[in-house]
């Protein structure tokens, strides 16, 4: 399977691009931020996007989706990333529907996939705790009682947690924090008693929440995947989420890079376009190389998932590390090269740096992934 885009993929990209630029340009997230919109995204726009089939892009046709692959999803996410469009793509499409596909029962699939594809229902993954991404660092406990499991714990950086109709909660049913064994995934309705969700206002004006679970009840049939062996779903789920988020980040960093290029060609100092200064040329030429490498590894990782290659975990880790480091580097350089205007809130370029920071920390930054990659490679 080649890495080049097919004509079908190009036309899908074009559809997404057009929609995003018309309905969710950069002013969209800015307006949501400045108006203090409590949701932090527009459900109406989301339903429109779903109307184009993009919410169900990877959901099987039999469940109301388009039945396409990760490469196609990546193209759409990249286009969303270009305008930092706040959508439940990551929470609901990438995390939610993938978790279901990887571990859901026929009844769970039947309940959720169609309303996800239609844009009616949202899901969220409540996984990380503490202050950084740690796949098995789960202290939240689910203890079996007479009426089912009682879940107790706190979750951080739950994407779209305040909007979701149900949360996929990663809890520990045995073992202790740090161990791969003993994790279980529960599909918990948002209205559950004892579930406290607080939206957090992050620097990127996107959507995440803290979740406190206070003796939340979950029944055995709410388990997603296998008891104690949740990592079998969680591991591939996280790898896919890393690649998908990287694809979104690619859109953001490419956009930041391109606006910087435009700035270099148009902004004048000392009577000439600043892009004629060789020191700046070499810096952006190096950025270009980094951007190309980032695109290459993300494309490769998306294809690898579609082809179910055994090196998906390695590629996912490399892609997320590279996307995180490149996005931060590009955004910092972009601000510097925009000069004084670059640090004002009036200029859009700062929004990319803010997004870069949050996206980098989500599902592991470069530092996390270098360690993770080394473990995967056995060193």
């Amino acid at each position: 399977m080649g890495l080049l885009e097919t004509t079908e993929q190009e036309s899908l990209r074009e559809t997404a691009r057009r929609f995003v630029h018309e309905r969710m340009p950069l002013s969209h997230v800015r307006q949501l931020r400045d108006s203090g919109a409590p949701d932090g995204l527009s459900r109406e726009t989301w339903r429109e996007l779903a109307g184009l089939g993009l919410a169900g892009i990877m959901i099987p046709v039999s469940h109301g989706g388009m039945g396409l692959g990760w490469t196609e999803l990546g193209l759409v996410l990249e286009e969303c990333g270009r305008t930092l469009a706040p959508t439940p793509m990551m929470s609901t499409v990438v995390l939610g529907s993938t978790a279901l596909t990887l571990g859901g029962t026929a009844s769970q699939l039947g309940d959720w996939l169609r309303p996800i594809a239609s844009g009616e229902k949202l899901l969220a993954l409540a996984h990380d705790e503490g202050t950084r991404h740690a796949p098995y660092g789960v202290g939240t406990r689910a203890s079996l009682g007479s009426d089912g499991y009682r879940i107790q714990g706190e979750k951080a950086l739950v994407l779209d947690g305040h909007l979701a109709d149900a949360l996929i909660v990663v809890a520990r049913t045995s073992g202790s924090s740090g161990e791969r064994e003993g994790l279980t995934l529960f599909l918990v309705p948002a209205q559950s008693h004892g579930l406290h969700v607080t939206r957090t206002l992050l620097v990127d004006s996107r959507n995440a929440a803290r979740v406190r679970l206070d003796e939340v009840l979950a029944r055995p049939e709410d388990i997603l995947g296998t008891l104690d062996r949740g990592a079998e779903v969680l591991d591939p789920l996280l790898d896919r989420a890393r690649v998908a988020l990287s694809a979104e980040m690619l859109g953001g960093l490419v956009e930041a890079f391109e606006s910087t290029l435009t700035q270099l060609k148009s902004r004048k100092q000392f009577g000439v376009a600043i892009g004629s200064f060789q020191a700046l040329k070499h810096r952006v030429a190096r950025l270009h190389c980094e951007v190309s490498l980032t695109r290459a590894i993300i494309t490769e990782a998306l294809h690898a998932i579609d082809e179910d290659r055994s090196n998906v975990p390695l590629l996912a880790s490399a892609a997320k590390a590279r996307a995180s480091d490149t996005f931060l580097h590009v955004a910092n350089e972009a601000i510097q090269l925009h000069g004084g205007m670059g640090v004002t809130d009036a200029c859009d370029i700062g929004l990319f740096l803010k997004r870069a920071r949050v996206a980098a920390m989500t599902f592991g930054d470069g530092h996390f992934h270098r360690d993770h990659f080394a473990r995967l490679r056995g060193y």
Partner: protein, 399 residues
Amino acid sequence: MSSADSDERFRESVRCWLEESCPPSMRTPMGGEEDEVWGGSRGGFASPDQRLWLERMASRGFTAPTWPVEYGGAGLAPARAGILEEELRRLGCRPPLHSLGLWMLGPVLLRFGSEEQKRRHLPPIARGAVRWCQGYSEPEAGSDLAGVKTRAVLEGDHYVVSGQKLWTSHAAVSDGMFCLVRTGADSSRHEGLGFLLVDLSSPGVDVRPIRLISGESPFCETFFDDVRVPVENLVGQPGQGWKIAMSLLEFERAWISRLGDADFAREEPLEVLARRYLGEECGRLSDAVLRDRIAQLDMDRLCNASAVRHAVEALEAGRGLGPESSALKLQAMELRQRWRELKVELAGFQGLGWEGPGFSAEELRLTRDWLRSRANSIEGGTSEIHLNIIAKRVLGLPD
């Protein structure tokens, strides 16, 4: 010998006076910005001791030790000023006054101003009664000051000023602005610039705060719409503005000292943050890679502090720094950026907050300070401009 003796007597009398006059609360380490006194008619004091300390120091001319007594200074020779400095440091006294008037406008007036300008402007600066801000940059003239477009047209005994200044820090709380304006019809780039003092309470002045990526900021945009400025407010000759502005670019001592380690030392050390957010293993920070980066930064702080101390000693010995100050500024600012960035990184998810709930005030500060620090390599000359200066004027590389 007798000069040394009399220096020693001076030191003792100063020490004695300082011990009597400096309120104990003014001998504690500086905390945040509220501990800085910037004076001016719109400024205030966070505590009565701040006011007392400023008044006492100003009464002796010690806010501007080397300025002549008739201009509000203490008329001290450099060696004596050095002794005063040492004694202030020994006692841990806070600076009584922060002021662009003291650091920038004062030296300009002493060198280029008329007798009348000195008598009129210097004493209120030394007392902290008038606060000045700087108006150099413009929307189309960022690093390229020669691109200034604000016009000052002579009409009788007034200049009529129109145009727009950008990055005028603290303009909203200042009384006056010293700015570069185009006085001549002369359109050529460096000539035709004048150095003009503008009263910000004049009709036609409009000051608007600038919001940064980090939120509120002291920066402003200042618009001049036919503002009338008395002709005696022009410093030097009409075409001398460029030369005057350039003479300020070789930052002087107070400014250079601020590049040292003091503001790092006031903050929570990196390893304390790291311990809070990453934890320890076997008595050491648990993450060896971040530990390596923390150590790198702490070492770089030592290097930077040494370089600044070296520069300050050279200045005290009467050796000018010249363009070498660009290297100090560049590395000090980039060090601050790396420090802010690493802090946010150490805080992990807790470094991502914009507003509560879910984040402590200190955590929100981390994030805002990190964003704010992106401007460090732009304000006061971009890093690129400083690299140009180093290449050309320190290293002598050809154009």
